[in-house]
Symmetry: C2
Subunit: 393 residues, 2 copies
Amino acid sequence: MTGATTSGELRSHNLARLLRAAHDEAGRATRSELTRGLGLARGTAAVLVAELTEARLAEERPAPQRARGRPTAILGPHPGGPLTLAVDLREDAWTIATAEIGGALTVREERPHPGNPPETVLSGLATAIGRHLTDLGPRVVGVGVALPGPVRDGRVVDIPHLSWRDVPAAEILRAGAAPVTLGNDATLAGLAEARRGALRGVAVGLHFHVDFDLGGTLLVDGSPLHGARGTTGEFGHMPLGGSDLPCDCGAVGCWSLQVGANALLRAMGVPVEPARGRDDALRILAGAAAGDARHGAALDEVARAFGAGTAALVNALDPQRVTLSGLGVRLREQAADAFATAYEAGLMAFRRDDPPPVLPAALGGDATLVGAAELAFDAFLTPEGLTAWQAAR
Amino acid sequence: MTGATTSGELRSHNLARLLRAAHDEAGRATRSELTRGLGLARGTAAVLVAELTEARLAEERPAPQRARGRPTAILGPHPGGPLTLAVDLREDAWTIATAEIGGALTVREERPHPGNPPETVLSGLATAIGRHLTDLGPRVVGVGVALPGPVRDGRVVDIPHLSWRDVPAAEILRAGAAPVTLGNDATLAGLAEARRGALRGVAVGLHFHVDFDLGGTLLVDGSPLHGARGTTGEFGHMPLGGSDLPCDCGAVGCWSLQVGANALLRAMGVPVEPARGRDDALRILAGAAAGDARHGAALDEVARAFGAGTAALVNALDPQRVTLSGLGVRLREQAADAFATAYEAGLMAFRRDDPPPVLPAALGGDATLVGAAELAFDAFLTPEGLTAWQAAR
DNA sequence: TCCATTATGTTCTCGGCGAGAGCAAATTGG
DNA sequence: CCAATTTGCTCTCGCCGAGAACATAATGGA
């Protein structure tokens, strides 16, 4: 959506702008607010709303009156309007949900899976997606899938602890007419924060998701930085801590060896088995919270590494705000002093007078699904997407 | 320039698109190429070209005939057209040049300066800028200034080895009607590469400039990532090397302590004095080139740190290409093996099959001036900028 | 040398779009 | 109950780019 060039494109661009704005406002904005916000004439807005309604893209419903004057209406989703399928594939289970314009989610199915081999897991998921697509019919305009590893050109590049390697996920998940878009789970969690969470309206935001690994994304004007091939955000694989441990990723001394579930075990001197330590990590956190000194020391060590690395990335990328999800929230909350001290010490002096705040993500466990839905809507809420929808009926 | 919304805005947006395209093509593109490239109708292009000519924004001149058919013309700068002033303030001297549409530079003045106090240096520069502005008259539409340190909200935040600290440079340099825009020199060198150098057409590029310090910028779609307050690109101030030396910036273990002029001295065991070692560093490079083993070892050490850190940032940011300027070019060329080995070892395994190439910058010493000129033109080559120009005559 | 071919510039008409004005409608609050 | 207020609706107007038809200016082969 680079902007209209011809007078004929104006209409479709403005249509997309209006529907996008209604979507971004989560179906809470009134027509008059949207009109003002987009700088449209009232007459133009009337035409656009009529066209959206006619095309079953959106619908007006009465708004609670707030002040004097003729009442206006809220522009929200149409009961027969477009849906996206949001899919969250985790290491041991997946969830399928629908999202409507405005972003409201409805979970439709949730199932455990064996984890391996990837082809089995993905084709099982593909079957389920196909079933929902059939149920929902042509209302589904796209499928967004969150995957727990880096995604490049539609392929899952590498999930060491599941031993997935270069899996052609997009191909296996291809689903009828609806386009399937893949994204990394940490990236999509960040995207969700940027659209509907703690990074809303932030020009440059940095999001970290901590689990076994540490992933994240840089959000510029509400969208994740995509990189050359879609694998930006592997902040965990920079040698930020001066360690010399070899990492599953193939490099050495990666930051994510010092921050995350396994890092907690390592700090406790407990042997680390691939993808098995999440419960142990939570026990360490619980122990630290209960006052156990050894647990507390391990937690502090990890929190220090987390704070120091965060500072490094803040130095380099100058975000306005940093958000955390996954284990990162508790790491930082339970060892607030250790984190804050390391964070401040790692900042360049000139950043210390007004450092970017580090905040927990506002969206809870749904973040990844929300992000997956946004990913799919991003491809639809364009002049081309809406024109295709209108042409199809 | 977010795109036209009303039919009245179409004209000015297309005018700006056309002039921007002519500028980006360095005054080499013909009208027919531009028309095709922008997807304009021939009739529309005729009107736009007439308007550009009429407004003295651009001018057509005959193009060498290449094939059969009616000849077309090259759309290039107008002899009375807009100019920007490009200023490069270095640690010991400054340069003032003009740039016209298409980017051609003409150096107008070059002078050494004492370095301190900053107010004296800057007001001397301001006087010179004012003189050139008076000479050139209203053709100058903006002034872009490159500064050798981080810039935030128009202030030079911190240049430790010059002991500049929070200097209100924009205020001191304010120059009549022409807007003054400041930028970091490494950022602007990267911008120049993105527009007219080795990062041309690259969706995501990473540029490093190495001198005493290591700075850089991430270029997304031809523009530097700006960050929340304009201080992105301080990649040198991440602890990528596991050192525990304190850095002038206030943090510890910064990468730029291991890569740059001072790092070479340090690797040789030579005492480091602030801002004094550039010649010594060049001597070390020359010695290494001549085959001296101790010099070679120091160079290798620095090149390894450079390669490893580059890999870390490639992991995190997924650029399509990496470019180097300043000392970085020789560091990498003279110790190509050390760099390459460390670079590859630092990459995540899945990036090794097709790692982003690391290339020397294509623009030589002019890069910073070119970038400063682009910075100023970016503010002008917009619908608003052109409308103001047209209104002023 | 000449003319068919080719590519591009020029001009004009046409359809479409948003701005904006004027009016209608619907609510509030004194 | 009515003035004030805000918004929706409708219609006209000016402007813009598309596209067609035509004009123009070069090439290159016969």
